[in-house]
Assembly symmetry: C2
DNA sequence: GACACAAACAACAACGATTGTTGGTCAGCA
DNA sequence: TGCTGACCAACAATCGTTGTTGTTTGTGTC
């Protein structure tokens, strides 16, 4: 996603308003590699900006997703996560702690034979690698 | 998953009981290619078996998943879906109607370079193809 | 076939994540 | 500076799912 300043301009030029709450959310997301949840963004902000509601965070995240600046991803970890990295990539998901890591260089050419496609138009291909992250493996070395 | 009869035996031999409700659920799932939700299974049953609760359906589906007879899949369509096809395969998901189709013959060989894996132990790889199914394309031929 | 007991049942209530509603507030422009 | 609609916080509501509880019912044993 773009810089907080560019986002502010983008918001204004698309008829939206730029409020302190929104600027703060932009800054939390920018360069964030942790795939935060809405709750996570909220938690990071509410400490020094008590005048913000979870509702506003959801609202702003939804607008950023509409504008294509972030991606909403639901990987079955209970709550949706938001990814400022819009470049095509895939994800490693830890089934223990729910942590998500980006994988940029995976996959080789994934295709579905036309017969199986059966008229389906594929617009996107996402690969989810599930397992255990290093930390969870360290804490429970014997596995599940 | 196995036949309803085999499932009944399996349930008994693992200390579970086989009730009419459970037998009915077994039969609804057997050979079902539609990836039903818990609600869907319930809806199909409650008509001629009013003495069943959604709670029981969830419970039984969870037990079948524990036994490895079905797979619970969450593809971000709002509710979890249950797949009696336990053989490794991937999914086509329609972003319009939420329909799910199996893809058995896609890809082989999806790997993550060790450097990106960073200690993560990959136990499972799932591929989700998103787009529009034939029916939704037919209804809105101009696309999204 | 009857008994006992744990497992399963239905009918709730509760839960977490998300979204709708509402009345007051404020950014952005004239 | 004043207007106006977008935004805000603070609810309440919704949806899918799971916990609780008191009752019912499979199932192994006699």
């Amino acid at each position: 996603m773009r810089s907080p300043e560019e986002l502010a301009t983008l918001f204004r030029s698309s008829g939206r308003k730029v409020t302190p709450q929104r600027e703060r959310i932009f800054r939390v997301l920018h360069g964030n590699l942790g795939h935060p949840t809405a709750e996570g963004v909220y938690a990071e902000i509410v400490g020094d900006m008590p005048t913000v509601s979870l509702r506003t965070v959801y609202q702003t995240l939804a607008e950023l997703a509409d504008l294509g600046e972030i991606t909403k991803i639901d990987l079955g970890t209970g709550s949706a996560r938001f990814d400022p990295n819009v470049v095509a990539h895939h994800h490693l998901v830890c089934d223990d702690c729910g942590a998500i890591r980006d994988v940029t260089a995976a996959t080789t050419d994934i295709r579905v034979p036309p017969r199986q496609r059966d008229g389906f138009r594929i617009e996107e291909t996402e690969v989810v690698f599930r397992g255990r992250c290093r930390d969870c493996l360290a804490n429970q070395p014997t596995g599940k």
